[in-house]
């Protein structure tokens, strides 16, 4: 189990995510805003590529390719001197950890990846075994925020009392490398801690708390009906608990809830009085970040205007 006291606040490579970049860029700007306010030492590198995670779980990318791309990103982190890879997406987190573990423990993998780099004239990308540790060098932004929850609570200028909120902890954070979760993987509470520190009325257990968001990688596209059934069940469960705000830690889940909530309302004949945001957007908002210029709520599908006015 990971202890929050051990989560670093220095040398963080804030690892860009494809879905954050293209769907909810406000998650990245919010994270930067919050890190700046909290004095976290981080860097965003223009050279870092997408982790391939979506393509990997679309069954398109093979594990060796995904690992070779990860090794290049580790080289970027090393070159910049920011070696605590900290992700905004749960899939980036798990993909990088697995690649690191393979590079450290599987001779065939490290040899192939390094030979490929050398033969391609990219010897600078060579991965040195054990130069990264699959536990100690990989974090999710939510862990950094949870570690600083008390300070976030002190700095919060918004009173969230009476706002019913609930967390959706992303599957690829706590169900893949469950031994490395900060807290109990059967009941992760990182988001809950931050929301409570800001005075929110947190609904800890709603019926389908641990159910997937329903995205299922290719399922959202290729098996739309099954994908939306899972999301519908989850939204119904949140509605029964009276939740007004759902807090996320993965852009893929956020696409599934925020983008598809209006679709589900139409197709299943439901009505939801519920908005969605990432925990970094929530924290930025609590600390006084502008809803549009910092939190980037204008890219959301479920309009937050009424929710924000009532705060």
């Amino acid at each position: 189990m990971k202890e929050l006291v051990d989560v670093p606040v220095k040398g963080l490579l804030l690892f860009k995510s494809c879905l954050v970049s293209a769907e909810y860029p406000g998650i990245e700007s919010s994270t930067k805003y919050v890190f700046d306010r909290l004095g976290v030492d981080y860097l965003v590198s223009g050279e870092q590529s997408c982790c391939t995670g979506m393509g990997h779980y679309f069954d398109l990318f093979d594990q060796m390719t995904t690992t070779a791309i990860a090794a290049r990103n580790f080289a970027v982190a090393k070159k910049e001197g920011y070696t605590n890879i900290t992700t905004m997406c749960a899939t980036c987190y798990a993909i990088n950890k697995k690649a690191c573990s393979l590079l450290n423990n599987n001779r065939q993998v490290i040899n192939l990846v390094n030979d490929n780099a050398k033969d391609s004239g990219l010897a600078n990308l060579k991965y040195e075994a054990d130069s990264f540790d699959d536990v100690e060098n990989f974090y999710h932004v939510v862990e950094v925020l949870a570690k600083m929850a008390d300070r976030i609570g002190d700095l919060s200028i918004i009173n969230f009392a009476g706002v019913k909120m609930a967390a959706h902890h992303a599957c690829h954070y706590y169900k893949i490398d469950y031994e490395d979760v900060a807290g109990n993987p059967e009941h992760p509470e990182l988001i809950d801690h931050i929301a409570k520190a800001c005075g929110g009325d947190v609904v800890e257990w709603y019926e389908d708390r641990t159910l997937t968001c329903g995205a299922g990688f290719s399922q959202r596209y290729v098996n739309r009906e099954m994908s939306l059934k899972a999301t519908h069940a989850k939204l119904e469960s949140l509605k029964r608990a009276g939740v007004q705000l759902v807090l996320h830690m993965c852009p893929n889940c956020q696409v599934q809830y925020d983008r598809y909530q209006p679709v589900i309302e139409k197709e299943f004949g439901e009505e939801y009085d519920m908005v969605h945001m990432n925990i970094a957007q929530f924290t930025a908002l609590a600390l006084g970040g502008d809803p549009l210029r910092v939190c980037g709520f204008q890219t959301h599908s479920v309009d937050l205007t009424d929710f924000l006015e009532n705060l």
């Binding site: 494809c18 970049s21 293209a22 860029p25 990245e28 930067k32 223009g46 050279e47 590529s49 997408c50 391939t52 393509g55 779980y57 679309f58 069954d59 398109l60 990318f61 093979d62 594990q63 390719t65 070779a68 791309i69 290049r72 393979l102 423990n105 599987n106 993998v109 192939l112 490929n116 780099a117 391609s120 990219l122 599957c171 169900k175 469950y178 993987p185 059967e186 641990t210 997937t212 329903g214 995205a215 299922g216 290719s218 596209y221 290729v222 098996n223 739309r224 099954m226 994908s227 899972a230 069940a233 983008r259 598809y260 679709v263 549009l292 210029r293 910092v294 980037g296 890219t299 599908s301």
Partner: protein, 201 residues
């Protein structure tokens, strides 16, 4: 095509699963006690005929017809089974290997081909995007607001103080690595299979 690391040639299904790079070294496929914790917490089992407990049984019994079972394509890769299994097995990882074995046989290509734009944009930009065949459906689902936001994405990013989407890769490292590691060949083969399948129809 380096897919043999995901699906190494082995005598039995259990051995293939254990040696695949997609699965953890400690995967407990042989330790499976058929308790059904996987199926009882599986979202795909809740909404379809997919039954991970039964798939594990068939893998252990070396029933190669499981590769052709359409239900393996319903796994969400949510890893709930991975978390819940008391024997450190991972049906979610096993399903990944089975799907790769199916792909080798030309099964499921129609599910992959609609997502082909994904690796293409990754090779070109270093970042992946929503596959083109789904943009239309999403525009229909998500309406004008989403279209408008997508059309103005770079401006919004600039407003938020973020750099352009495309990564800095002047030397073309991503493309070079993809070629050398065998992905370019793998992808070409997948495309070929998709074309062949299209012609068969």
């Amino acid at each position: 095509m380096n897919e043999n690391y995901d699906t190494p040639k082995c005598e039995s299904l259990v051995e293939t699963v254990k040696k695949s790079l997609r699965t953890s070294d400690s995967i407990g496929i042989e330790r499976c006690i058929q308790c059904g914790a996987c199926t009882s917490s599986c979202p795909a089992a809740r909404y379809s005929d997919y039954n991970p407990r039964n798939v594990m049984k068939r893998v252990k019994e070396d029933d190669w017809s499981v590769i052709e079972d359409k239900t393996i394509w319903n796994c969400f890769y949510c890893y709930t089974c991975n978390l819940r299994c008391p024997r450190n097995n991972s049906p979610s990882q096993v399903a990944q290997v089975l799907r790769q074995m199916a792909i080798n046989k030309g099964i499921g290509i129609e599910r992959l081909s609609v997502l082909f734009e994904y690796p293409e944009s990754f090779a070109k930009l270093g970042i992946s995007q929503i596959p083109a065949p789904y943009i239309g459906q999403m525009e229909e689902d998500l309406g004008k607001h989403w279209q408008h936001f997508r059309d103005n994405l770079e401006d919004i990013r600039e407003e938020l103080g973020l750099d352009p989407l495309t990564i800095e890769d002047e030397r073309g490292e991503i493309k070079t690595l993809l070629k050398g590691i065998g992905f370019e060949d793998r992808f070409a083969r997948l495309k070929e299979m998709a074309t062949e399948e299209g012609e068969d129809e």
